[in-house]
Every structure is written in C-alpha cells, then in structure tokens.
C-alpha cells in the first residue's frame, strides 16, 4: 500500500469519526443541542483528532526510524572484505540502496520478474546485465554481497511498509473507537479539542527548534570528520586558501582567515552603503513624507527586496564592475585591475540590503509613540532635532537589531559574491582587488568532483559551521542589545 493511499485512508477514518462522533453526541442528548456540554462539531473534532493525530505521528516516526533500522541490518551483511580500498561502508551501502532501487524500477517496468529480482541464487553478473538492459543506472558492477544485501533490503523495506500500514491503521481505528466511547453529553469535548489544538501549535513551534538542532548536528558530525583529517589549528589560523582537488587534498592548504577576511570586508562595504541610505530613507518615509508619497515610495523601495540575488549578481558583473573599472581602472586611477572586486560586490550587496534596513527601521520609528514627538515639538524643536535627539535614541535598539539582521544577510550572501567579487581567496586591504567569501567557497567546494570523504569537500561543513557560529553570535548580540535598551522607552 503506498503512502498516499495510507494517508487518504487515515483521513477517511478521521472524517467518518467526525460524523459518527457528532451523531453520537447528539443522540446521547436526545437530539437536544442545549443539553450538550459543547457544540456538536467539537465532539466530531475530538474523534477526528484522536484518530488522525496519533496515526500520523506513528507514521512519521516509523518513516524516520525504518531507514536506520534497515541500514544497520544491511550493514551487518556486508563483510569488511567487500569494501574496496579507499571506499567506505557508507559508499557500499549507497550502492546497495541504488541497486535495490534499480531492481524495484526494473520490476515495476516489467523488464525483469519479481521472482528473478528476489532470487537468492541469482548471479550478480546476470543481474547487472539485466539491469543495464532495463535502462537502470548501475554505477559500478554489482558484487555478490551487494546483490544479496540489495535483495535483503527490498525484503525488509516491503515488510516494513506492510507492518507500518497495519500499525497506522490500527492506531487510527483504535483512537476513533476510544474517542467515540467517551462521547456523551457530559463529555467536555470543547476543552479537549482546545488542549489538542494547543498540542498541535506546540508541535509546530518545536519542529522549528528541532530543525535547527538537526542542522547543527549534521554540520557538527561532518565538521568533526573534517578535523580528524585536517588539523584544526591550520584551518582556523592558516593564512592561505588553496585547495588541491587532486591527491585527496593531501597538499591542500585550507586556512579560513582569507575567506573570513573577504566576508568581513565585503559585508563592511555593504553595510557602509546600506545603513546610512536605508536609515535616512526610513527617517524620510516615516517623519517627512506625506502619506501620498509614503504610499508610493515604501512599496517601491520594498520591491528591491524581492529581486533575486542572482539578478543583483548580474547587475554587479555587467554594470557596476565595468563602471568602477572605468573610474578606478587602468584608464583612470589605475588601482583596479578587473571588474570583480570587493567594492563591486559590496556596493551591489549594499543596494540589496537598503530595503531591509529601511523597511525594518521605518516600522520601528513608527512604533515610537506620537507622545514623544508631541513632547519635543511642544518644546519648540524642529523635525530634524526631534528625529536626532528623541526618535532615533528611542528607536535605537530596534535599529541595531535591523542592522544586525542586515549584517547576517550580508555574511550569508553568495550569488552576488560569486559574480561580483571573484573567486580568489586573498588577504588584502585594497577594496578594488578580487576576494571571496566563506559562502562562495562552500559552493565551489561542494559542486566539484571531489570525493565526499576528502578534506577538500568536508571543509565545506567546517566553513558552514563557522558561519553558523558567527551569525548565531551576531544574533545573540542583537538580542542582548535589544533587551538591554528596551525598558527605556516603554
């Protein structure tokens, strides 16, 4: 039974439960609504909730747990001798899964019979040939242990899915019956549904948090693997970034400092552009502009935020870069060699960040109570004096938050850097030289042909982890600042 049908059946049980629960509640009150504790629909919702929610929870848990269980079973089937030199157990297991999928597809398309696919005595050469004939992708030739494991994998998956369907349906029916049994006119269905809704909301909130933890864990394990292969001190304090994709990264120098410097430099240029312009725009829009101008200008400014960053990248590459070269290049001041430079990427990124700063600051400035402005105007202050001495100080925590948010965006930005700043990792003070950032390098490390187990590829996770820690630190600082100054303007 496919997952789709399973879900449909559970939903059908829930809907039936809803109708039955409603009817049962009404009949227990002798058809009189006023005798019920809650509205009839609450009784129905109670039944639907108690059948669908546990069933879906079980389904999700099972789907998450089954691959782990099957993998560990299959892993035991593969002897160490079957793992080729330079390969790893993980790669062989991936091979097993690929073979199993190939067999599945071949059976589904009718190229080979189910009996043949599960035949434990089948010869692996024969199977390989048949699979290739069926148009299935088989990367390297299947070995005997891999074939056996793949066959076992198919058996386990099939039975796992079968038991999962049964268990989920049983849970759904049991839940519905239990809820129906407790349905009578005195049952507080409304309160129970309220509890259920609370639980669902808590669930949604925890998914967001658990995902963060999951992301961190996936980074941590790969980062730890990287540091096993490459010394941490060289990574954090190395002044050179020159990965060598050949020779398993043995001669690579993977120092993060040039990348961090590039990230920092480009972000500083971007913020130097975005913060003053964005802040002034916000002050104009919220304090000076007439409602008509504001109604037009604010959405226009926010359109900037909707432009995909790759388009900004093109803008940097085709317009800003050549323009800067014509001024600072060989024909001008002679300090800029090519269009790709820190300045190019920084300027364009700054333009991208203007709406972030201005939109957030505008909201924050508007949130400063009108009483503050009245108080200041009442003392004979002009608009700019009021803005400078009353409104901006009162809005400062929020504005700092907006700037730090923009900084996080700048640090995490990739496309503009790839197209605008070049790919050379360099430690230099000249803003007209090409540099690159951590994010741009993560992309290039993972999109190459490099073996996933080599330090040259794994370094991407260490870079990602570093970036994560840096932005997390920024956010913590932002929260701290906002909290510290918040009390003052209530």
């Amino acid at each position: 039974m496919s997952l789709f049908w399973l879900i449909l059946i559970v939903l059908a049980i829930a809907v039936t439960g809803y109708v039955l629960g409603r009817a049962r509640a009404l009949s227990s009150a002798g058809g009189e609504r006023s005798a019920l504790h809650s509205l009839p629909s609450y009784y129905g919702a109670n039944v639907a909730m108690k059948s669908a929610v546990p069933a879906f929870l079980l389904l999700i848990c099972w789907l998450l747990a089954q691959p782990f269980f099957i993998n560990s079973t299959i892993s035991d089937m593969i002897p160490d001798s079957a793992i080729a030199e330079g390969s790893s157990r993980g790669l062989v297991l991936a091979e097993v899964r690929r073979t199993a999928r190939g067999l599945d597809n071949a059976v589904a398309s009718g190229a080979i019979e189910d009996d043949f696919a599960s035949n434990a005595r089948a010869d692996f050469n024969d199977v390989t040939a048949r699979l290739k004939e069926a148009g299935q992708i088989v990367t390297s030739d299947i070995t005997q242990p891999v074939l056996r494991a793949a066959q076992q994998y198919r058996v386990l998956v099939a039975s796992g899915n079968f038991y999962m369907s049964i268990a989920v349906l049983l849970v759904a029916i049991a839940g519905a019956l239990w809820a129906l049994r407790e349905t009578n006119k005195d049952f507080r269905a409304r309160n129970t549904v309220e509890q259920g809704i609370k639980a669902i909301l808590i669930g949604a909130a925890s998914i967001a948090i658990l995902t963060t933890i999951g992301i961190v864990l996936s980074l941590v394990f790969n980062t730890a693997e990287f540091f096993r292969l490459y010394p941490a001190s060289d990574f954090f304090f190395g002044l050179t970034w020159s990965p060598s994709f050949s020779g398993r990264g043995g001669s690579s120098e993977l120092g993060i400092i040039p990348l961090l410097w590039g990230t920092f430099y480009i972000s500083v240029v971007a913020l130097a552009v975005a913060v003053p312009i964005g802040l002034f725009a916000a002050v104009y829009l919220s304090e000076y502009a007439s409602p008509k101008v504001r109604a037009v200008a604010k959405p226009l400014l926010e359109v900037l935020a909707g432009i995909p960053t790759i388009v900004y990248g093109l803008f940097a590459l085709l317009t800003v870069g050549p323009m800067l070269v014509s001024v600072f290049g060989d024909n001008g001041l002679g300090i800029m060699k090519a269009g790709t430079a820190v300045m190019t990427a920084g300027l364009v990124m700054g333009i991208m960040l203007i709406p972030f700063v201005s939109s957030l600051s505008d909201d924050i400035i508007n949130a400063v109570p009108q009483a503050m402005r009245d108080g200041s105007y009442g003392l004979g202050a002009t608009k700019s004096e009021t803005v400078k001495q009353v409104i901006l100080p009162a809005a400062l925590p929020g504005i700092v938050g907006a700037i730090l948010l923009a900084a996080s965006r700048a640090i995490g930005e990739t496309m503009i850097v790839v197209l605008g700043a070049g790919a050379a990792a360099r430690l230099s003070l000249n803003p007209f030289e090409a540099m690159t950032t951590v994010t741009a390098k993560i992309v290039s490390q993972l999109t190459g042909d490099a073996d996933f187990a080599s330090p040259v590829a794994l370094v991407a996770f260490a870079l990602g982890m570093t970036l994560f820690v840096v932005t997390l630190g920024l956010n913590i600082v932002a929260l701290y600042i906002v909290r510290k100054y918040r009390e003052q303007y209530d």
């Binding site: 503050m372 009442g378 003392l379 202050a381 002009t382 009162a394």
Partner: protein, 265 residues
Amino acid sequence: MNEMPNIEQATAMTESKISADKVQVYYGDNHAIKDVDIEIQPRSVTAFIGPSGCGKSTFLRTINRMNDTIEFCRVEGSIRIDGEDIYDPKVDPVQLRAKVGMVFQKPNPFPKSIYDNIAYGPRIHGLARNKSELDDIVSSSLQKAGLWDEVKDRLDEPGTGMSGGQQQRLCIARAIAVSPEVILMDEPCSALDPIATAKVEELIDELRENYTIVIVTHSMQQAARVSQRTAFFHLGVLVEEGPTDNIFTNPKDKRTQDYITGRFG
C-alpha cells in the same frame, strides 16, 4: 448702564495675553471649531471645560500651532499673543512653541535621564552658554516644578522610571526650562491618582504668578479649584466664558447649566 460692558471689554482687550478672533478649525471637511472668540488674561489660569469631542483640546492646540503637525488640519481666523498674530506667515511655529509651552494628557518624558529631559529644550534653543548655566536652569526648573527635593540625588536616572505624578511634574519642569510665557496643559491630571493630582494642581496655582496658563480639563472640580476664568465649549462652539465663580454658580447659558449640573457630558 449700557456703557459698562463695553468699557469692561475694552480694558480686557488691552490686558489680555492671548486673544482669539473668529477662529475656525477644520479637519478635512469636518468643521471642528466654529467662530471662537476669547480673551485670555495674563498671569492667570484659564480652564477649558466641556464634554468629550467638544473641541477644547483642538482649540488649545491652535494656540501653539501644534495642529500644524496634523496633515489635514486647517485654521482660519486670528489668534494674537501680545498683539502678534501667530498664524502670520512671518511667524516661525518652532519659535512660537518655545514661547508657548505645552504639557500633555499622558506624561511623556523622553527616554533619557531626568537631567537630559529638562536640558533638552535649553540645549536646542541655546539658552545656556556653558555647563554650569545649564545646571542652573535644570535645578531652577525642577525647583519651580516642586520636584527638586525628590530627584536632586538621581538626576542621571531615566525619567521614565519615576511615578506617573512625578513624570507629569517633570514634563511641566521641562516646559518651564525654556522660559515660556504661556503654558498650555491638555488634561494634565487625567492619568494621575488623586494625590498626584493634588500636587500638580498646587503647582499650577504657584506657576500662575509667572506664567499664563491655559488648562483643558474633564473635571469640573479641578476647573473650580485651579482656575480664575473658565470657558465652556460644546460641539465646537465657545458657549460661555467668564470668571470661574460666575460660570459655576450663575451660568447664563442653559447648556452650561446642564453640563455643570451633570445633565450631560
């Protein structure tokens, strides 16, 4: 007998600090204030009373042109302070507001220290040449507002951390600090408890010696306690104006009578 009121009016004209003549205020199409004529005496307290929405606060805000900050608001007629029309194009509303201070309904200290709250006005108008002059302005303003003894040891604490009554007196001190001639108060005690209210009323009574005070209030008792003259507004019209005792004991207009006896409002 016929001559008497005219003479009285004429003497009032020459003495009055603020004189409004046929003032109209529009909010867009809404005619909020209609034909208000009033003479406000110097160094006295004038109370504006009336039911909610009668225009008393709107009229108060025309006196220091605070209505300029509202987009759709339009003022016609003339308001003269010391004989000078404040709606003349030559008058800078910013300068005017330094001369005509304002205290608002809700205490609105800036999110700054007590000292900086008071020093705000003197700093933007350049009233002090150095730190010690500024210190003097701050301490004398706080003394005049009767707040000095309570806050002299914590001038660097935020003004927002004080009690509501103290905050309102801080706002009065802040207004005094720019040495205005007129102080407008828009229901200054409506957010305060009775004890804080009593202190503010006492303060208003003391300030009368040096300043012309116009106070909008919802409380008729308060008007009776603090003011020398009272003006009753109803539906944007100035119904009756006169010495406070007369308004409360012997109102001429039926609407005033009904309002002060609690029949509406």
